[in-house]
Symmetry: C2
Subunit: 265 residues, 2 copies
């Protein structure tokens, strides 16, 4: 199977302006497609901005709302899949969600963040209850988590056990936690033997100072692509052959002893 | 509570010679005590050497055998606890074990490696079945794992949930896995909010090329002390106050959602 060329859009867009962020996404999709990417991953809540406080309820949209249709149009126009974070409206509830739409405009999967972070998120969002959400893209099993979720090894392990090969993690990692981007994410990829596309916001937004440092981490412990602190479009390859080799050399999934882990649940 | 000053003996001793290794341990205990340490941690199978192949059954001793008595004598003489790896004889079975003996010569805990690594260990050792073994030392809750065990986040998490504050990990980490010492161990300490004393062998021994790089990793993501590739005695502090601060800033143990982790067991 050929590698899946994957683009990571490190950007904060413009807080509160869905139109501006859809325009930024369209431009990034054009660049990603020109670089040969079949998948473009955006940060957490990219559609609306993260520091939008009281605007969360009014900017939230259903998974099949107008913004989703606009993203689907971008996918079709540029011939690549897009994964984007957004506040999802579902009746009275609002979730911190991320949706993957395929190159033909078909929604492939929608994930609701289970592990909310801090008082801002706890105030505005309902936690999701489904730990493992997956889709198939060009023969690669893709899994979805958001930000704080990936800091818990349990969540990544559950994905690996369910067959995830590439984990997409839109994030909003802020000061003073660069250790998460620099160290935790590569170790998650290694210990559970999968790729992780960790895509962050950048710069100051309201009270938050985002760290950038987005990365595509490989299962062999190497970081295949790494951003700096500012806005950036990264491109890297997710290679099923490298994954197979790495899993043979690092047989964590085979050697684990689930019978000893009862205290974790 | 005052910090627990901890010494890490990175050394391969002399393969096959228990007498030489007890002498090396005695000398290291003298240096560690002079540096104010209350605890000295040795590598995996330090008592006998790691690359001893066919000699495993004959060099294996019960947990209360003559070598344990010799180590207890070293503890009393230098006024510090010693944790050492050794092949443990228990009837027909031989375990890859490590024992903690207190400053007064009292055995405090004995751990049998549960996650054996590679064909050498699988040939000679029976896996242990008790995932969490702990002891109390100067008011610090100490937990025991060995080498490959720590590479599984489940094992470290089980310790954190059981109250472990300092995890002692004798190891025999070899080429080409320096990523484990450099990245995985500090992330384990951070994600489960505890200290880890990871103590490796050094240099070439039989078919193995040990990487050194022992470290005392802190719960805040910093490495408090780090060895190079050769023989070395490291000393660092395990500080309950720093641990409490770090747990408040990084509330992973509070924020985890065990109800979502059912697939891990």
């Amino acid at each position: 199977m050929p590698p899946l060329r994957t683009a990571l859009l490190q950007s904060s867009g413009r807080a509160g302006s869905v139109d501006d962020n859809l325009a930024a996404l369209d431009a990034a999709a054009a660049r990603a497609a020109a670089a040969g990417a079949r998948l473009l991953v955006c940060p957490e809540l990219f559609l609306t901005g993260y520091a939008i406080g009281d605007a969360v309820p009014e900017l939230a949209e259903p998974a099949d709302g107008p913004a989703a249709r606009a993203v689907a149009d971008i996918c079709v126009r540029h011939g690549l899949a897009v994964h984007y974070g957004y506040p999802e409206r579902a009746g009275e509830a609002v979730f911190n969600a991320a949706q993957l739409i395929g190159p033909d405009g078909t929604p492939l999967a929608n994930y609701r963040k289970t592990h909310l972070f801090g008082s801002f998120e706890e105030k505005w969002f309902t936690p999701g209850v489904r730990p493992v959400v997956q889709a198939e893209l060009d023969g690669v099993r893709v899994g979805l988590l958001i930000c704080y979720d990936v800091e818990f090894p349990e969540n990544v392990r559950a994905h690996a056990l369910a067959g995830t090969e590439l984990l997409l993690v839109p994030t909003a990692l802020m000061h003073p936690f660069p250790f998460v981007a620099e160290a935790v994410v590569p170790v998650r990829a290694f210990e559970s033997q999968l790729y992780i596309a960790y895509v962050n916001r950048a710069g100051v937004e309201g009270e938050f100072d985002f760290t950038g440092l987005s990365c595509l981490a490989g299962p062999d412990g190497t970081v295949r692509a790494r951003a700096g602190r500012g806005e950036e479009l990264l491109v890297g390859e997710v290679d099923p052959a490298l994954l197979a080799t790495s899993r043979a050399v690092n047989p964590y999934l085979r050697d684990r002893l689930p019978g000893l882990y009862g205290s974790l649940v």
